[in-house]
């Protein structure tokens, strides 16, 4: 409306003012709504490369990265940082003419990548990890099959697949394609202080009966068997699942990973939960975990040594490096079994690798993303990673005998060697975004507020709900 008109129609202006005021009142209430709104540009405007330009394919350039292109790698900037990716990026730039690799760190993967996936402009390589990772099943259909990468020769000419530890690719399979390549090998074990155990003549428990006996011995000294933190109660789910899978065999893993209706009433898991219920009811858990921040709880084990054992992935040494008692000599042992006649041997171990790298199909330069991955999986970068991070990649044989002086890393290699091909892995908790709910259920169980039956019921109810929910993309595990 023109100024002239408006001056002649004061009533209109008043109505307008009223509308503006009403709007201003509504503003703060809408925050919750506005937070949902997308900035995405919609399906049509996406300028996705969908393959991008291709260069000449050769042994040194098996995916045909075109000269003059740029590769964008977004890497989770967590415990391992991003420098290992930059290390690989430098090698790629050296080997290929006029190719630039940009490595960008991020800890807000889902928040930052969401509009880019919608708009069709995702990065060429993405390390989808951390508390803000994208549920992989959500984007699996938009990702490249990375089988091509593991079948390619590494920089020294050996096929990459032949250089990897056994059973490390399975968790990256989505609907028959290798959608994610988990780069860092992780060993899930019970961690303890070798010096403390030696001093007291203790040994790591091989069955739950032995664990209960150890708990009694700890109690005599005013110590506890385990401790836990509220955000990491889910580590006890991992321990229970590992123990049940070893006891009952691979069927247990398949039942769990496929969210089967009777997964939580099987004999193996029931046996494990019954034993853990004993641990709780006999007072072998350090009290207060449900209200304790997890790194503080971990320090009760590594620093104050109030608890003997801690179930965790092998990142624990790195994570607690600044809060570990002098002379602790951190070492690890496999998860106990229920009976000595378990389906898998005691040495069997969960080696679910971590740091899932994916190559979005819509990126400008998917070939470039694969090339960076190929170099990361080659001996130079894998060895550099092991040396600087004191952790192994999925590439075998990069850890020297002295394990760079790290007792925990040495234990990790020893456990993997002892397990041989008796390794297994699963990652349905991350796939379906269950962690928050799992922590709720397990905090109650570990504090003694609920019992094994209630816990199993709660877990099964969650499984059933997700399985029956058509809007959740399922991942068939085999």
């Amino acid at each position: 409306m023109s100024p002239l008109e408006s001056s002649r129609t004061p009533l209109q202006r008043r109505a307008f003012l009223k509308a503006v005021t009403a709007g201003a009142v509504v503003t703060p209430f809408g925050l919750s709504l506005a937070s949902c709104a997308a900035s995405g540009s919609g399906p049509d405007t996406g300028g996705g490369g969908g393959g991008g330009a291709t260069g000449e394919v050769s042994d040194a350039n098996p995916f045909g990265v075109a000269a003059g292109t740029t590769v964008e790698a977004v890497v989770f900037d967590g415990g391992y940082g991003t420098d290992y990716a930059s290390f690989a990026a430098a090698i790629v730039q050296e080997q290929l003419d006029d190719v630039t690799v940009d490595v960008v760190g991020s800890t807000q993967i889902a928040q930052q990548m969401q509009p880019r996936f919608v708009g069709g402009t995702p990065p060429d390589l993405l390390d989808n990890n951390g508390a803000n990772a994208i549920g992989l099943s959500t984007i699996a259909a938009q990702l490249e099959d990375l089988t091509e990468v593991v079948q390619a020769p590494n920089t020294e000419g050996t096929t990459i697949a032949d250089t990897l530890y056994p059973n490390v690719l399975g968790v990256g399979m989505y609907d028959g394609k290798l959608a994610a390549l988990n780069y860092v090998l992780t060993v899930y074990a019970l961690w303890y202080s070798e010096s403390l155990f030696e001093e007291n003549g203790w040994t790591a428990p091989q069955t739950w009966d032995e664990a209960l006996a150890l708990g009694a011995a700890a109690q005599e000294q005013g110590k506890y068997l385990f401790t836990w933190g509220r955000e990491a109660a889910s580590y006890y789910l991992t321990m229970a699942l590992d123990s049940a899978i070893k006891e009952g065999g691979d069927d247990v893993r398949l039942q769990m990973a496929n969210l089967q209706p009777d997964a939580w009433s099987g004999e193996a898991i029931t046996g494990v939960l019954a034993a853990m219920e004993q641990v709780v009811s006999r007072g072998y858990m350090r009290p207060g975990g449900a209200g304790t921040q997890f790194t503080q709880a971990q320090a009760q084990w590594s620093q104050a040594q109030e608890a003997l054992l801690y179930p965790s992935g092998s990142w624990i040494e790195n994570e607690m490096a600044d809060a570990t008692a002098e002379g602790f000599q951190m070492t690890g042992a496999p998860t106990p079994t229920v009976t000595s006649g378990s389906a898998l041997p005691y040495a069997a171990i969960n080696n679910t690798p971590n740091e899932p790298f994916v190559v979005p199909s819509q990126g400008q330069n998917p070939a470039g993303g694969k090339e960076v991955l190929r170099v990361m999986l080659s001996p130079e970068t894998a060895t550099e990673f092991a040396r600087t991070k004191l952790a192994s990649t999925i590439v075998a044989g990069t850890i020297p005998d002295d394990a760079f002086g790290s007792s925990a890393l040495a234990a990790q290699v020893a456990m993997l060697d002892a397990a041989g091909t008796d390794t297994f892995n699963y990652n349905f908790v991350q796939t379906y975004g269950m962690t928050q709910e799992v922590n709720g259920l397990w905090n109650s169980f570990l504090s003694g507020d609920s019992d094994a039956a209630t816990l199993a019921q709660g877990m099964q109810a969650m499984f059933d709900r997700i399985r029956e929910d058509d809007s959740v993309v399922k991942v068939e595990v085999s």
């Binding site: 409306m1 100024p3 408006s6 307008f16 003012l17 509308a19 503006v20 709007g23 509504v26 503003t27 703060p28 209430f29 809408g30 925050l31 919750s32 709504l33 949902c36 709104a37 997308a38 919609g42 399906p43 996406g46 928040q111 990548m113 969401q114 996936f117 919608v118 708009g119 069709g120 803000n132 990772a133 994208i134 549920g135 959500t138 984007i139 259909a141 938009q142 509220r230 955000e231 009290p287 207060g288 975990g289 449900a290 209200g291 304790t292 921040q293 503080q296 009760q300 975004g433 962690t435 928050q436 922590n439 709720g440 905090n443 109650s444 504090s447 507020d449 809007s471 959740v472 993309v473």
Partner: protein, 299 residues
């Protein structure tokens, strides 16, 4: 007209109304948030929410916060404001407690601290073994609080969380109410005192009616904050607390959208929350009108 109202209004339409409409539309789709496909499902998401036990728990907790937090903050800050304005010695003219200026500054401190810092500080205070609270309680001989998990026990987690939010805002609203009470003619308080009115009577019959407009506005603001409360809850109990006893709608929106990849459903939750907020504001204004409160812009 065009410059002074048209431009801001256009800005408002683009930046506020459009995102609202967009989010409402998304709530009718099964959009994952990570692809360009937005399959339309009508009211399907709302039907799912009605049967989603976890969402209903979160909604219940948010409503608990909505009822309890503003009420506690209003009562506490009004009582303190009365003490600081006319609760002092009865000798001489009407005045507040000695050291009023000091109390005003000190009690305002928490408001200056960012919410996330408050959350982290209190998470430490509540720590079962190393926390200040249990240290003091066990120090005075209450041994049953040894390793007591305030934020990890179903019976205390919500109360402990509410205490933190109240602590953070009492000072601010106290200062606000002090300013409002000082706008009331002091002679009214003097006259009441001569007539024999005590402090409580003066507070309820003179101060409260005198600042009713401010209280109403403050109540609305505090209620909106209680319905959000995301930062405090995320710092104190990121997993939603024991048995989801402190899980709130905003946390559920966050995890549904980003870790479970169900943006459509998350938007439906957002719409429900917005409707609850509007109903709350309507209820507060309605009640205030019934009580004859006038003029609300003084806050």
């Amino acid at each position: 007209m065009v410059v002074f109202l048209g431009l801001p209004f256009a800005f408002y339409v683009v930046m506020v109304l459009y995102p609202f409409t967009q989010a409402t539309y998304y709530s009718l789709t099964a959009w994952t948030g990570f692809s360009a496909e937005q399959p339309f499902v009508g009211l399907g998401n709302y039907a799912r929410l009605a049967g989603d036990a976890r969402f209903l728990t979160a909604l219940g907790n948010s409503l608990t916060l909505l009822v309890v937090v503003p009420a506690l903050v209003m009562v506490a800050s009004f009582a303190l404001a009365c003490l600081l304005t006319f609760g002092g010695s009865t000798a001489g003219s009407v005045k507040g407690l000695r050291g009023t200026a000091f109390y005003r500054v000190v009690s305002f401190f928490p408001y200056v601290v960012p919410a996330i810092v408050i959350g982290i500080i209190w998470a430490q205070v509540y720590d079962p073994s190393g926390g200040l609270l249990n240290g003091v309680l066990t120090g005075v001989g209450l041994d049953r609080f040894t390793d007591f998990p305030w934020l990890g026990d179903v019976d205390t987690a919500m109360a402990a969380t509410i205490a933190v939010i109240v602590w953070a805002f009492v000072g601010f609203y106290m200062v606000l109410f002090v300013a409002s009470i000082q706008g009331i003619d002091p002679e009214l308080f003097e006259a009441a005192r001569l007539d024999g009115a005590g402090r409580v009577r003066s507070a309820l019959s003179i101060a409260l009616p005198g600042i009713a407009g401010s209280v109403r506005t403050a109540y609305v603001y505090m209620g909106i904050l209680a319905l959000d409360a995301f930062v405090y809850l995320q710092a104190l109990n990121p997993n939603g607390g024991p048995d989801s006893s402190t899980l709130v709608v905003t946390q559920q929106i966050f995890s549904t959208a980003f870790s479970q990849g169900q943006f459509g459903l998350a938007c439906a939750m957002g719409v429900v929350l917005a409707v609850v907020t509007l109903l709350f504001v309507g209820a507060v204004f309605g009640v205030a009108r019934l009580l004859g409160v006038r003029g609300g812009a003084r806050a």
